[in-house]
Symmetry: C2
Subunit: 281 residues, 2 copies
């Protein structure tokens, strides 16, 4: 097990990871760094945190695992900042929702380093964000997708898999590109769609909102996500997200065509197929 | 207050209405008819039901209010069946999710009758369906949209408004076409979209479903609705639903264009606008 772990940017996910580490292995030391002074102050009083640093470079020193929990667009710049300050043999990972761009850049960056990078994506979240809503149970039984490159040594991968499993996550290996294709469909596309729907309805008379029920609230809930974070995710996974949108446009067009042509059996068949899919989720 | 009320097709909504009537005005007699024998048997033992009939024609006799709670495509045929059996001055309403086609047909049917029809749409539901999940509280504080024709006598409208208010619903008057335009956007479009998304994902490798999280489950929840009922709703409100889909396709295309062209500020602006709309729901 890792003896000292640095968490860069402890928010909802990073602080939950820290709590889960302390539960599973209390003797592990946790070091953190946050960009904002207020967050650093909050971390100082948290019982899952042993030491808070004012720079990422000092926070990663002597740690055998470093976990980047900052927004996806900041991960590669932050890797550049810390690279020369990592302990030899240190394992570096992240928790970003996109993987191909990050893993490719990290592969290039770490090519001359004794430390190594393997991407992770713990698929755990909540409607709330921020360190104050963190809890170890957030991770329990959730999937953690781990995305090594083709030439990542298996023993390094195994070490990281063991770490996430120790936190009661279901670790699963995928290539970075396969990861991005899957999450483009099951996570990024639904968000893109919910935002498109909410944007369209926002153009309608405001008095319509009083009639909105639980169905609309459910189907647009994810549109409440942080626009800055989601804009970064869409940009980083642009190619796969655009592919997924193309597919949705085709699915929508064929369902619309069935309605337009009064093709009841086709409309019924697709609605039933969609229901069967949803019911097994 | 109405002294005898007939509920045709008591399912989740019809049985909830019957329970709410008995709570608000215990002396009102409730008569029911259901197409299926098993449902008629269940109604016989329900404490919100005074008498069960084996035909709709006999069930409506001597009632001063008749509420049709059957699927939207069956409402007009059922109105034709009961028309000659209604008491003079009887008020007839329904609970269908579409109004223009039903109200127009009913207007024509009732033109030579001493009874009258006014459409209603109690916007109350639950993820479950069927009489066994009914409860009076389902209606509480929910909107009931009431859709008289331009020439419906105001005192008849007022009487129906008072009835829904007695059940603690928020009664609101709209024209049938205005009703259909609003619900096409806030209810039928989200369902159409959720079904399109679920249909698209159903074509993908089945192992992807294990990674699906709460976001996808929420945004596709309504796709679990009964395909028969929804196919009827889409067909009855075809013109407005197609209009709403056109609008969504434009909203989706412009958000997609912003991503395609790396127009971060436009993408951010739309995501933020969508979030603000969702947050106030």
């Amino acid at each position: 097990m890792f003896q000292q772990i640095t968490i860069l940017g402890p928010g909802l996910l990073g602080a939950s990871i820290a709590m889960a580490i302390k539960q599973a292995h209390p003797s592990t030391r946790i070091h953190t760094w946050s960009r904002r002074v207020e967050t650093r102050k909050k971390s100082q009083t948290a019982d899952w945190c042993d030491q808070v640093f004012s720079t990422a470079q000092t926070a990663v020193q002597h740690s055998d695992l470093v976990i980047l929990c900052t927004p996806v667009a900041t991960i590669v710049p932050l890797l550049e900042d810390i690279l020369d300050h990592l302990q030899a043999q240190a394992c570096v990972t992240d928790v970003g929702s996109t993987k191909a761009e990050i893993c490719q850049a990290a592969h290039h960056l770490f090519s001359g380093s004794a430390a190594h990078f393997i991407g992770s994506h713990p698929m755990a979240g909540s409607a709330q964000s921020g360190m104050e809503h963190a809890q170890a149970s957030l991770l329990k039984e959730a999937y953690c997708l781990i995305t090594p490159m083709a030439d990542t040594p298996p023993e390094q991968v195994a070490h990281l898999v063991d770490f996430w499993r120790m936190l009661h996550m279901q670790a699963q290996l995928l290539s970075p590109s396969e990861h991005d294709r899957i999450v483009a469909h099951i996570s990024h596309l639904p968000h893109f769609l919910a935002s498109s729907l909410a944007w369209q309805l926002a153009q309608k008379p405001s008095e319509w909102t009083q009639y909105c029920g639980g169905g609309l609230r459910d189907s647009t809930r994810i549109a409440s996500g942080d626009p800055t974070l989601w804009q970064q995710i869409f940009h980083q996974n642009k190619r796969e997200v655009l592919n997924a949108i193309d597919g949705l446009e085709q699915s929508l067009a064929s369902l619309k065509q069935a309605l337009h042509c009064d093709n009841s059996s086709e409309l019924y068949k697709r609605l039933e197929h969609a229901k069967n899919y949803r019911d097994q989720l």
